[in-house]
C-alpha cells in the first residue's frame, strides 16, 4: 500500500517537474537552469510545509506522508538533473557558473525550507 502511494506521488511529482520546467524554459531562455532551480525550491518549500505540519501533529491520515513526502516532493525535486546541469554549466560557461548554480540551489533550498517551516509555524500558532 505504501509502495503504491509512493508510486502515485512519484508520477504526479515527475509530471509536475516536467511541466514546470517546460514553462520556465519557454519563459526565459537562458543557459542557467532556472527550471531545475524552480522545481527544487518549490519541492523544498512543500516538503518543509508537510514535515513541519506533521511535526505539529496535525498532518491527518498516515498515508499522506508517503504520498506527499517520498512520492510527490521526492519526485518533484531532482538531484540528477541538478548535477547534470552543473556539469554542463562548467563545460559550456565555466567554473563560476557551475559554482553559482550549486550555491544558489543549496542555499535557496535551505531558505525555501525555512520559509515553509515559518509558514507552518505562523499558521499553527
Amino acid at each position: 500500500m505504501t509502495s503504491l502511494l509512493v508510486a502515485v506521488g512519484g508520477a504526479c511529482g515527475a509530471v509536475s517537474r516536467y511541466g514546470l520546467d517546460g514553462v520556465v524554459r519557454r519563459w526565459c531562455a537562458s543557459p542557467f537552469p532556472w527550471g531545475t532551480l524552480v522545481v527544487n525550491l518549490l519541492g523544498s518549500f512543500l516538503v518543509a510545509v508537510v514535515t513541519g505540519w506533521a511535526a505539529f501533529g496535525g498532518l491527518g491520515p498516515a498515508w499522506l506522508r508517503p504520498l506527499l513526502v517520498s512520492g510527490l516532493c521526492g519526485a518533484l525535486t531532482t538531484f540528477a538533473t541538478f548535477g547534470q546541469d552543473t556539469v554542463r554549466l562548467y563545460t559550456s560557461v565555466g567554473w563560476g557558473a557551475a559554482v553559482r548554480n550549486v550555491v544558489v540551489t543549496v542555499f535557496g533550498g535551505v531558505v525555501a525550507a525555512a520559509f515553509g517551516l515559518g509558514v507552518v509555524f505562523l499558521l499553527r500558532t
Partner: protein, 145 residues
C-alpha cells in the same frame, strides 16, 4: 512543447513516459530506503543521488550521440532518474542531522552529496563516451558541443 503542431492535438506520450518513469524511480528510491534503513546517517539518500547522477551522466551522452527513440530521455532521464534522485529528502536529511545536534555531520553530508554527485555525473559521462566510441568505431571521435 514542440509536439504540439499547428492546432492539431497529439497524445502527450512524453508526459506519460515521464509519469511512468517517475513512479518507477520514486518506488526504487523507496525500496533503497527500506533496504538500507536508518543508520544514524542518511546513507540511502546519498547512495540514491550519487547513483542517479552516475546513470544520468551516462544516459545524457548516449542520448546525445546515438540515435535513440524520442521517449528514452523523457522516460529514463526525466522520469526514472529524476524521480529516483531527490533534492527535498537531501534537505530533510540535513535538517534531521541538525535537529539531532550533529552540525558537523550535516555539513559533511551536504558537501559530500554535492561533490560525489558531480563526480558521478562526470564518471558516468566518461564511461558512456568510452562505451559509445567502442560500439561505433567507424564514426571515430564523438563530437561534443
Amino acid at each position: 512543447m514542440s509536439e504540439v503542431s499547428a492546432g492539431r492535438w497529439r497524445f502527450p506520450w512524453a508526459a506519460l513516459a515521464v509519469a511512468l518513469g517517475g513512479a518507477l524511480g520514486a518506488l526504487a528510491r523507496h525500496e533503497v530506503a527500506l533496504w538500507l534503513g536508518e543508520a544514524g546517517f542518511p546513507w540511502s539518500t546519498l547512495v540514491v543521488n550519487v547513483v542517479g547522477c552516475l546513470l544520468l551522466g551516462g544516459l545524457t551522452v548516449v542520448v546525445e550521440t546515438c540515435s535513440v527513440h524520442r521517449l528514452v530521455r523523457p522516460f529514463l532521464g526525466v522520469g526514472v532518474l529524476g524521480g529516483f534522485t531527490t533534492f527535498s529528502a537531501y534537505l530533510v536529511d540535513a535538517g534531521g542531522l541538525l535537529a539531532a545536534q550533529r552540525p558537523v555531520g550535516a555539513l559533511v553530508y551536504v558537501l559530500a552529496t554535492v561533490v560525489l554527485a558531480l563526480a558521478a555525473v562526470g564518471c558516468g559521462a566518461g564511461l558512456a563516451r568510452r562505451f559509445v566510441r567502442r560500439a561505433t568505431p567507424s564514426t571515430g571521435e564523438v563530437e561534443r558541443s
